[in-house]
Every structure is written in C-alpha cells, then in structure tokens.
C-alpha cells in the first residue's frame, strides 16, 4: 500500500488507466460481437464439429445404433465408385458454370456499361431471376425442358427435332448448368457493372490515345483494373457451384444414370434416402475440405492475376 503511494506519480497511473480503458474497449467490442459469436458457435462451428464427429461413426437411424468406426467411412469413400462419379459430375458442373456464368456476366456488364437506350430495362430483365424463388424457377424450367415441353415446341416450329433435354446424359448436365447460369448471372453482372463503372475514364482514354484498339484496351486496361471483382465472382461461383442441390433434385434426380449426381445430391441420397448418416457426414467433410482448398488456392494465386495485388 505504502509502496503504491510513494511510487512515481505520473507514468504508472497513465499506464494503468490506459490498460483499464483498453480492457473496457475489448469488453465492449466483445459485447457487440457476442450475438454473432453465439450464432456462429451454435449454427456453424457446432454443426461442423458434430459432422466431423458423426463421420467417425456408423449411424443407423432405424436401428438406433451409433457405433464408433474410426476412419472406416473415409476409407470407404476412397473406393466408392459412386463418390468418384459424384466428384466427376461436380467438376463438370463447376467448370461449366464458372466458365459460362463469369463470361456471360462480364459480357452483359460490358454491354450495359455503354450509354445506350433501354439499358435499365435490360439490366432489370437479367437481374429479376436472382430474386425469384430457386425452386419455382427450376420447376418452370423443368416443364420447358420436357420432351414435349416449351423449348422443343419452339424448336419444332423451326423444323428442328429437339433432344430429350433432361433424359440424355450430355444435355441433362448442360440443361442444369444453363438453368443455374440464367438464375444467377444477373447478380454477377451487377458486380461486374459496378467494377466497370469504377474504372477511371482517363485511363481508357490514355490507352486510346496511345493507339490501343477497343479490344486491346479492354484486355490490357479494363480487365486488370476489375481483376479483383473477377476473383470475387469466381470464388463465389465456384463455392456456390459445389453446393448445388435443388436444381438437381427438381430437374434430374441425379440421372440419367449418375451423370448429374453431384456431391451434395450424393450426400443427400446417402443420408436421407439410404439412412447412412455417418457415411454422408464423411462426404460432407470431404466437400468442406475441397471448398476450403479451392478458395485458399484462388486466394493465394490472386497476386499473379489481380492487378491491385501486384
């Protein structure tokens, strides 16, 4: 007590007060993030940990048995041809979706970035599917893509005998990809449009004055300046593509054969149709790791192709 009162008066008190203030700030900060933290623990971290735990068990819901099986489910995955088919289908779906979605969204954004009449209507037209219910959107497309549906009806008017879109391997996957592209291309288009409008006019004018053609100016000036948005859109599209489910469930139920049985649909079959909850949990852990790795790789390689990161 005596030591405290006799000590140097100035600096220690200020340090203590600064420490107290900092602690108050920290507590206040935690108070603000607490609801989010609890929500994340309850609805994200908790289920994630639980799924990893379940994946180490043989869980038969009907027989009410829950037996520790170690890495059996993961070993089974390695030799399961159905899972390999699902990986292949997801790869095809993701590649097709990213390629079509990003390129179409960018092309539409470039068109809408021109000062032409009717662009607002055009923008609303392509953005409107984003706010439509996914299942309703998919059901309508399901009717259109039937053998005797609207698309083949239109083609027959032109004298073309359309394929049975959802019942033939290549066209079934193509149909699912196109339905998903039209559903979400509007959102990516708006993101690209915002990025394009952020490109300084002077930079493009300078390129033009230096003799660059419009195409050269686009590739060498505009694309590097919006590369951050291209990265964001690519990550979002890849992650979203690996989680596709409703479109498959409504349009093809994984068929014909297993050509459109993507990972999430395979996971759903294992868990909710075959009651293999432990095995399905292992599939979902692997899916989580794949998404995490892809996102990490895309993020790490940003320095190579995102202009701002150079």
């Amino acid at each position: 007590m005596a030591t405290a009162t006799l000590g140097p008066p100035g600096p220690p008190t200020r340090t203590r007060r600064r420490g107290l203030n900092r602690r108050e700030d920290t507590l206040t900060g935690f108070a603000f993030v607490l609801p989010q933290l609890v929500g994340s623990l309850l609805f994200v971290i908790g289920p994630l940990v639980a799924v990893v735990w379940y994946s180490l068990h043989d869980w038969n819901v009907l027989a009410n048995s829950f037996t520790y099986s170690g890495t059996d489910n993961y070993e089974r995955l390695a030799s399961d041809p159905g899972f390999h088919d699902a990986l292949r289908a997801s790869g095809i779906f993701s590649a097709g979706l990213v390629l079509l979605n990003v390129s179409l969204a960018l092309a539409l954004a470039v068109m809408l970035n021109q000062r032409l009449p009717g662009t607002a209507t055009f923008r609303a037209f392509f953005f409107s599917p984003v706010v439509v219910s996914l299942v309703a959107w998919t059901i309508v497309w399901g009717f259109l893509l039937q053998a005797d549906g609207g698309i083949n009806g239109f083609l027959s008017q032109l004298g073309v005998d359309g394929p049975n879109w959802l019942r033939e391997g290549p066209t079934a996957m193509l149909s699912v990809i196109v339905v998903q592209v039209f559903k979400n291309v509007g959102l990516n288009m708006v993101l690209f449009l915002a990025a394009l409008q952020g490109v300084p006019k002077e930079v493009r004018e300078a390129a033009t004055m230096d003799g660059a053609s419009p195409w050269r100016s686009f590739w060498s000036v505009t694309v590097p300046l919006i590369s951050g948005t291209i990265l964001l859109v690519s990550i979002l599209t890849v992650v979203g593509s690996l989680q596709v489910f409703a479109q498959i469930a409504v349009l093809t139920q994984g068929g014909p054969g297993t050509s459109t049985t993507v990972i999430v649909y395979y996971l759903y079959q294992q868990a909710f149709q075959f009651q293999e909850f432990g095995y399905a949990s292992a599939v979902s852990v692997v899916l989580f790791v794949i998404v995490a790795i892809l996102t990490f790789v895309q993020w790490q390689t940003r320095r190579r192709w995102v202009f701002h990161e150079v």
């Binding site: 920290t26 609890v38 009907l62 027989a63 959802l166 019942r167 054969g257 049985t261 009651q275």
Partner: protein, 428 residues
Amino acid sequence: MKHRNLWGVAGITAVALTLTACGGGDGGDSTSDGPAALRMTVWTSDEAQLALFQEIADAYVAEHSDTVSEISFETLPFEEYTTGITTQIAGGNPPDLAWIFESSAPEFVASGALLDLRPVLEETDGYDVDDLEPDALRLWENDGGLYAYPFSNSPFGVFVNTDQLTAAGQPLPADLIASGDWTWDRAAQIAAATAQTSGKAGLVVRDFEFSVWEYLATIWASFGAQPWSEDGSTCEFTAPEMIDALTWIHDQIFTTGAMPGPGTTADFFAGDAAMTVTQISRASALDDSFGWDLVPLPDGPQGHVNVIGQAGIGVFADGPNAEAAADFLAYFTNPENAERLAAYFPPPRTSLLTADTLQAANAKLSAEQLQAVVVDGIRGAVTKPAHANFAQLQQAIRAELDALWTADADVSAVAESVCAAAEPLLAG
C-alpha cells in the same frame, strides 16, 4: 490479454450452450407422466380422409382421456415420405405412429424400430385377429411378430377412357375380358391405335415416370418376372422372363407408341391418356368429364397375376408413448373402424373383403368392378417389389435402367449392367 478474454467468452458461451442443450433434453419425456399427445405421420393430404381419421381419433380420445390427450395426423409429402420419417427419427423427434410403404417394409421390420403389434391386437376385445388375411400380413411379419398393420391393400387395375377407345373404333376391355382376350398385347394394340387417333397418350403406367421402376412390376409379374429371387439374394433382371418383359415394354414405348416416351407427361384423370395402370384408390380422382371403366390387369405370357400395393401403420418401439400408440392402433383398425376406412383403403380383413361391403363405401365403383379388381385382386396377389435394402437398390437399378429408355437400347446389355449394380446390394 486479448486471447484470455476471447477464450473466456468462448468458454462461457460453450458452458451456456451445453447447459441449454442439457435443459432441452428434459422436455421430451414429459408426455410419459400424463395423458400422451400422439402423432401419426401420413402421406395423404386428402381432406375427407384426414377428417375420417380425426373423427375416429377424437372418439378414441373421448373414451381414453386418462391416457391420451390428443391425436394429430401430420402429412408429409408423398415423394419424400420415408426421408421425412427418418429425418424426424435422426432429429430425436420420431412420430408415435407412421404409415410405411410396402417397399420399405422389410427394412423397417428387420430394423427393430417397430413394436410387435400382435400381443396388443390379440388382447384387444373384439379385434378378431383371425379375420386378418394371412397373405396381406406376410410382408409385415418377422419371427412370428407383426410389426405393422397393412391398413391399405390396394390392387392395381387398368382405368380405361371408354370415350377415347370408342372414338378410335377400338373394342372395350370389358368385352375382351368376357371373350378371354384381355392380354397385354391386346391392351397395347388398343392403346397404340387410340393414341394415334386421339393424339394423346395410349397406356400410362402411373407414377413410373421412367424413374420409379418398381411400378413396372404390374406388367412383368404376368411375364413370370421378378427383380430378385424370393429370398432377396439374387438379381433376376437377366432371367429370360424379365428380358422378354423389358423388351415388350421397350417396344411399346419406342416401336408401337402404345406407351408414352420418357419426358412426356400424360395424366389419365385429366383425359390425357386412353388407359392407365394404377391402384383403385385413385378412383377418387375421376369425375364425369369422360366415360371410364376399371378392369383387372391384362394377362401376360404366364397367365393372370394380381399385383397389390400395400401400406402399413407401425408404432415406434422407442417412442415414449409406444404402449398408448399401439392401443390406439388397435382401436383405429378394429372391425368397425376398418369398415369405415374401407371407403378409401381396402382392409386386410376377410369379412370385409366383399363387393357389397366395399361398394357401400365406394360410390364411384360398381359391385362388379369391386369384385373383379379388389376382392379377386387381393387374395394370392404379389406385392410390389420390396427388400431390406430397397432404397439403395431402387437408386442403383434406376441409374442403370436409364440406359434402357432410348430407342436403340440393348435390353440384354442393360439387364446385365442392372444385375452388376444390384448384386453387391442384394448380397449386403
């Protein structure tokens, strides 16, 4: 310091969550202390059927208010029905009673999830267990126990749009039955000719939709074919009878046009098809917009085979109200209530399987139709395919059969690939 605080908050939250989780678990058993609130999952959303169930349930609650306070019927979507039940079980919230498809019967019966109903039914006054049709019970029995009551035994028949057939100048099936000519070949000829005239579909196997292949059993049964052996251990898709049946079906789709191709939607009850193979319970969807008839399934190369679809009601053995639920089931299906339910679901009771009894409850069907299709159709009938591993078999076989639904398909090669996919699952 920051890390300590963060871990402190995380620790408090974890403890709070653990306590919350522990607290939540207590609520589930509270019903066992007082009168139970029972819940039965069903796949029907028909208001008249649900009203009848509720009427019977309310009468039971009135008589047993000391043990049961309320009985509710929860409709789950037909397509996702079994998935819905297993999700509820996995979530720790199983229903007390549930309807069960015949295809899932072996899996549910063998799992031990269901209560043996036989002791309760035998001890219930006036239940008359001996009146239950043995053929109807077989699928739901295991080691002398009865694990679900087959409340619905609905035979498959052929609904015919007589207006379309007459307009196409085709003979009516009723006349062909009288002359002994009602065969699948003849039915296909009539369907193809009628479809050509009407521009609509010919013969539709309802609910098949080139995915739910088990409905094709209505055709291949009379070819002497079956998907797997009686003991469920060997694939039979490569048997000559099955090859003949699949070839016949393929021809009707891609050669004669008697059956619509994949991706074509045709609802008989909306007047879009000449004939449809379905269960008699669908008669409720008919109105007077066209003339129709209901006839038994046609004969195949192996003669006449009746096929029925069943649905059972089971009680979950681990539920907190299993005893009360079983007692309600005995009341719900006693002779009096079984007669009332017969308006929609042909019961497994021998005494009620008469044309007169069924006609009193089915105004749309004549006594002759009920005798031919229902009464004669249930005894000795084969049930739609079922297996203890049915869900996986259904998907595996569906995926391989997809290759059959193209014009240039090699039936034998597809059958080989079906068996290659099915054998490991049958063995498992």
